[in-house]
């Protein structure tokens, strides 16, 4: 099945400047699997989105469709065919 990742501006240097990255993942895959696939295609993304311990960075939000995955099971969130996954920087700052 196909998943579309929406990439924020600061990370597009790792996606050949593309805002949309489409990846093919096997049916039934979860967010973790989908992320691994997009990280393999765009290696610079992984360490910007996840910590080395494998957690989503504190000030990065990931939405599967319109749901923040922090409320839907985190990396185990199911990703249906054709869904859009958005990587969004939090609005925090200083």
């Amino acid at each position: 099945m196909q998943i579309l990742f929406k990439i924020p501006g600061p990370l597009r240097e790792f996606t050949e400047n593309r805002s949309d990255v489409r990846v093919e993942v096997e049916a039934g895959a979860d967010l973790h699997k989908a992320l691994q696939t997009v990280f393999a295609a765009c290696p610079g993304l992984r360490d910007r989105v996840l910590t080395e311990a494998g957690q989503i960075r504190e000030h990065v939000n990931i939405f599967v469709a319109n749901e923040d995955v922090r409320h839907t099971g985190g990396l185990a969130t199911a990703v249906p065919d054709g869904v859009e996954i958005s990587i969004v920087p939090a609005i925090s700052g200083g």
Binding site: G9, P10, L11, R12, E13, F14, E16, N17, S19, P43, G44, R46, D47, R48, V49, T51, E52, A53, G54, Q55, R57, H59, V60, P89, A90, S92, G93, G94
Partner: protein, 698 residues
């Protein structure tokens, strides 16, 4: 060959194979490092060819450039001829180029580095002669390394004739080489450095379009296309500027090509800012352009210049002055919007490398470097400093980048948050956690200070390679006597005001420690309340806060030449972390803490509620020494007479968190020459308004 030893190189594994021989990963058992060892195939060269190659390799081994693979040694035994080179971990450019080509930004970034490598070699009379994608490696950090300089087999006229006639049956080495050959070489001329510029043009074309400019099914067809036909047109989406650069490299008449690699480099450099604008006109990408393209003119640095590295919570700035230190050129902000808590300059081993830690609230912390004073920065795909997965920890910030001792020019240390020490033994390419400290039994009871639980100071003992000190807030001073395997708390006599037990073994909130290389047994310490000195390598500490308005403070600086002279910037209290009485005063002792004097001439003495953070003060190594400090309010002050008179160098910067001063020593032409139209900026406003992107920042 695997397992065998050649001279003092133990062959570990085969990592490549080419027309001229096999490349192995090998262990240099004398210098204890891994290298690449190219063993020439027995039939690759005749006796004359060998002696020619030997002489040439010896010349090439004199090249020292960040984008050229270093040749360590050329050797021969009775049966073997081999070349020992720097081991480069990465992928070849030919592997990276996809069918649709690379982004313009990537092409210009890689192209600039290749051109810079060629310029360096050409200036020394060395021509590559076999530049192609498989001879260019790209490291994980994005740094380009050109391989096999001058080592290409010299193709004689007869071989070329054969090549053009029987392309399909030739050895792979020749097939790989033909599409990059310049017309004059195919006509049987030897060709000079301009043949490399042709090959660079082919490579830029290939990287841009994902295919070669001159193609054919046979060697004859390829040769014919190179000699007579224009290159296949590039896609319409390629910016005109880049097309023009490639076309000028690919002019068949050598005298009409670019004449110097530095011209190609300058042209690519100038393109870097323009590329995205041309390629992505949509509204959506314009937002990103604003972010990426904001830039500045870069510094041009000469031998003997003084450089100030200024890290702020929103980016880094670089300042340059002559030895007079009267006028400063400013470049920045680099790493726009990111916190830069640690900076360092590594001038060892003829490097001119800037190190920076960048901290993005969203995207994490990365170690970046530049070998050309800020024009191009590495953008690592993966973080080089990372906690082992089993630790469960993750890097929050890098607080300190510290060079190893002079006799260990490949050693670097980083102090990080959460408190840990990382070390590199290969000039910063790879890093490992110092487990002896990380696994210390005290660690679970260390408490974070206001800035988090950070290891902010690393002090190798200059006279003893086994001894080192670190300072952790809030855990105190720890010392190793065995090269980092075991660590002992060294806080005896340091008072802790915020704990029921006032003199615990550890738990002190140490803000900074310093030592002088002439008296490495003596340390000075600025504590969270308290000024101390130790005369016995930290075994015990005595209070030296006599005659200061407050013994609270963060910054502390050792004089570069006087082991009895220390500078501090007291602040009023932990509740009011500003200069006492609204007066900005530097305090100095010249008798190792026996007494302190105020240095305030030229500093504001009314309403100046300033704070200077722990790494916010630095000194150059000149005599008289220059002293520089930056404030949280974004003011940068300097004195060129050791603190007697101060001048404000800059104001209006973001919060300054670190300042490092260095004197640049170059024993030959600088790696970073003036590029194109880049001129030193003389005013800060100018530098901040410029919007030409010449380096990679983020």
């Amino acid at each position: 060959m695997i397992g065998q030893t050649l001279d003092h190189y133990k062959i570990l594994a085969q990592i490549g194979e080419g027309g001229m021989g096999v490349v192995y990963r090998a262990r240099d058992e004398v210098l204890n490092r891994d290298v690449a060892l190219k063993l020439l195939a027995p039939g690759a060269l005749d006796k004359v060819g060998r002696s020619h190659l030997l002489r040439e390799a010896q010349t090439v081994s004199s090249l020292s450039h960040p984008n050229i693979c270093t040749i360590h040694q050329v050797g021969q035994t009775s049966s073997d001829f081999y070349v020992v080179m720097e081991l480069i971990e990465g992928r070849s450019l030919s592997d990276l180029i996809t069918a649709t080509g690379l982004s313009m930004e990537t092409v210009t970034r890689y192209g600039t580095q290749i051109a810079d490598a060629l310029a360096h070699a050409h200036d020394r009379g060395i021509v590559h002669r076999d530049l192609k994608g498989s001879n260019v490696m790209v490291t994980a950090e994005g740094r380009v390394k050109v391989l096999d300089f001058g080592l290409a087999t010299r193709l004689e006229h007869e071989e070329i004739s054969e090549l053009t006639l029987s392309y399909s049956s030739l050895e792979s080495k020749l097939v790989g080489t033909l599409p990059y050959m310049a017309p004059e070489v195919l006509r049987g001329q030897k060709g000079d450095h301009l043949r490399d510029l042709w090959a660079l043009g082919v490579l830029l074309y290939e990287a841009t379009a994902g295919r070669l400019p001159f193609r054919g099914n046979t060697g004859f067809e390829v040769t014919s296309a190179i000699l007579r036909e224009p290159p296949t047109p590039l896609p319409a989406t390629v910016p005109h500027g880049l097309v023009a650069v490639i076309q000028r490299c690919l002019i068949k008449e050598p005298t009409e090509r670019y004449q110097r690699a530095s011209e190609v480099r300058a042209a690519l450099e100038a393109l870097q800012g323009a590329v995205l604008q041309i390629r992505h006109p949509s509204e959506e990408t314009r937002g990103q352009q604003t972010l990426v393209l904001r830039g500045m003119e870069h510094l041009t640095v000469k031998n003997g210049d003084v450089l100030l590295l200024v890290g702020t919570n929103k980016g880094a700035f670089l300042l340059r002055s002559s030895r007079e230190r009267a006028r400063w050129d400013v470049a920045g902000p680099y790493f726009h919007g990111q916190g830069v808590y640690a900076m360092a300059y590594d001038g060892r081993n003829r490097r001119h490398r800037l190190w920076v830690s960048t901290n993005s609230l969203m995207w994490g912390t990365f170690l970046r470097s530049s070998d050309d004073f800020g024009r191009i920065w590495t953008t690592p795909l993966e973080a080089s400093i990372r906690f082992p997965i089993e630790s469960g920890a993750s890097l929050k910030n890098i607080w300190q980048i510290c060079l190893g001792r002079e006799e260990e020019p490949e050693t670097l240390y980083c102090g990080v948050e959460p408190a840990a020490l990382f070390e590199s033994r290969d000039g910063g390419e790879s890093w490992s956690l110092v487990r002896g400290l990380y696994d210390h039994p005290h660690r679970p009871r260390w408490m974070p200070g206001n800035g988090g639980l950070c290891l902010h100071t690393v002090l190798p003992d200059p006279g003893n390679k086994e001894r080192m000190y670190v300072a952790v807030s809030a855990a105190g001073v720890y010392r190793t006597e065995d090269g980092g395997n075991t660590w002992q708390a060294r806080n005896n006599g340091i008072r802790v005001v915020f704990m029921p037990e006032k003199y615990p073994e550890f738990g002190q909130c140490v803000h900074k420690i310093v030592l002088h290389k002439a008296r490495p047994e003596r340390l000075f310490l600025q504590n969270h309340w308290g000024l101390y000195r130790s005369d016995n390598r930290g075994d015990s500490w005595q209070d030296i806060a006599r005659g200061v308005p407050s013994d609270f403070g963060f910054a502390m600086l050792m004089h570069p030449h006087d082991a009895d002279c220390v500078y501090i910037l007291p602040v009023e209290s932990d509740e009011f972390r500003c200069t006492p009485e609204g007066r900005l005063r530097v305090y100095r002792t010249r008798n190792a803490g026996g007494s302190w004097e105020s240095l305030e001439c030229g500093l504001p003495q009314k309403g100046a509620y300033e704070t200077v953070l722990r790494d916010g003060i630095s000194t150059d190594s000149l005599d008289p020494a220059g002293i520089y400090f930056g404030t949280r309010s974004g003011k940068l002050f300097g004195s060129r007479d050791e603190g007697k008179d101060w001048k404000k160098i800059l104001e209006g910067l973001p919060q300054i968190v670190c300042v490092k001063a260095v004197v640049i020593e170059m024993d030959e032409a600088p790696a970073a020459k003036p590029y194109g139209k880049a001129k030193p900026t003389t005013k800060r406003k100018t530098s901040l308004r410029k919007s030409v992107r010449r380096g990679k920042r983020r």
